[in-house]
């Protein structure tokens, strides 16, 4: 708090060069942060730039003899609000960068033109709103013993109704967020075995195929593997060989089966007859 006190006491003298230095450093940082927020492609970078802006503004609040608001700025904005932003960004997807496609043609230049107009008119309208040197808050802050005490007198005195309404607003906002973020589950939650079964069902045909020759009498690459029921597994032979018809069945039954498969009537129920000679 000594830094805060020092900054506050320095701010009392409105013409010290320290205050000018604080202002210019924080002003440049905050404008840089705001511009960085607008031009960053990734939303996470935008969030970090906004944090720069908000911390600079907190320092400016302290320099303007509002130490309580400066602390609230750090705690509420950079602490709570920005963390909420980052949390939602993580949920939505960090790499959801903005597209540079203009939906409305020329909208970007029109927006910049509009911004220039708004900025110039704002600065022209209120850039000279304060006439004469700043009064400073020394008197107002010391009436009740400090900035926080003086703010508390206002908050629980003149603005007590607004303060109470604020509590209603906060409760409504919390309830609304809970209602919005809540998702009704229409189907029961899948258990771990069900998830595993679903994965196997999905990956079953794509799983490992038997290599050629498994359970057959030859293990050459053109010999189809035999399935546990004795039928051949046509998938075990490499595709190019299947395309050329270069299969070597292990026995006559399998020969018939292979021909059937190639003629479009796959009969995969034949039992193996190991006594037969393999057809070369």
């Amino acid at each position: 708090m000594s830094i805060v006190a020092a900054a506050t006491s320095q701010a009392a003298d409105a013409s010290t060069w320290e205050q000018s230095a604080v202002f210019w450093v924080c002003a440049i940082l905050s404008v840089l942060g705001a511009i960085g927020m607008v031009v960053s492609r990734k939303a996470v970078h935008s969030a970090l730039w906004v944090a720069v802006t908000m911390i600079s503004l907190a320092v400016l609040y302290v320099a303007l003899q509002a130490p309580f608001l400066g602390m609230v700025q750090v705690i509420v904005y950079t602490g709570a609000v920005m963390m909420l932003f980052l949390f939602v960004l993580m949920v939505v997807g960090v790499d959801s960068s903005d597209s540079l496609v203009e939906t409305i043609k020329g909208q970007r230049w029109l927006a910049i033109l509009f911004g220039l107009g708004v900025g110039i008119s704002l600065i022209a309208a209120e850039g000279n709103a304060i006439v004469g040197p700043a009064v400073g808050l020394d008197a107002a802050n010391t009436v009740d013993g400090g900035n926080i005490e003086a703010l508390a007198r206002l908050m629980f005195g003149r603005y007590v109704l607004a303060f109470e309404v604020t509590s209603a607003l906060l409760i409504s906002a919390a309830l609304g967020a809970m209602v919005l973020a809540h998702r009704d589950r229409h189907t029961p939650r899948l258990t771990q075995p069900q998830l595993a079964d679903a994965r196997f069902l999905e990956a079953g045909p794509k799983g490992n195929k038997p290599v050629p020759g498994v359970y057959a009498r030859h293990n050459a690459v053109d010999t189809p593997a035999l399935l546990p029921d004795g039928s051949i597994s046509i998938d075990s032979v490499p595709g190019p060989m299947r395309a050329r018809g270069a299969l070597r069945p292990v026995d006559r039954a399998n020969l018939d089966e292979v021909t059937d498969v190639f003629e479009g009537e796959a009969v995969l129920t034949a039992t193996p007859q190991p006594d037969d000679e393999g057809v070369q």
Binding site: S30, V31, L69, Q73, V81, S96, G136, L137
Partner: protein, 99 residues
């Protein structure tokens, strides 16, 4: 230090925030731009409070912060809900009300 400098800085920040709302298409980034606009008004309130020697501006800035916090909570919940149904946080995709 000219007290008007703070007001001018606040106007510049407000303008940048407004341009950001118009230019960006990501709903979350638009929200951040709105936050910067609110912060700019807060800076103006605090600067005027300092210039006039009156704490009312700080009290109002405090209320603005409270309202901004509530707004962020509800707004981000809405964005989450939309993302859950549309799988997108881009404002160009949110055309459900159009048809």
């Amino acid at each position: 230090m000219d007290p008007n400098a703070y007001v001018v800085l606040s106007a510049i920040l407000f303008t940048i925030g407004a341009v950001g709302v118009l230019v960006r298409r990501n709903a979350i980034v638009m929200f951040m731009c709105v936050e910067v606009m609110l912060n700019a008004t807060n800076l103006a309130f605090v600067a005027f409070a300092h210039a006039n020697g009156n704490l009312d501006g700080q009290a109002i800035a405090f209320f603005v912060m409270v309202v901004a916090a509530a707004e962020v909570v509800v707004g981000l919940a809405i964005i989450m809900t939309i993302f859950r149904t549309r799988r997108s946080a881009s404002v160009d995709e949110e055309n459900l009300l159009k048809y």
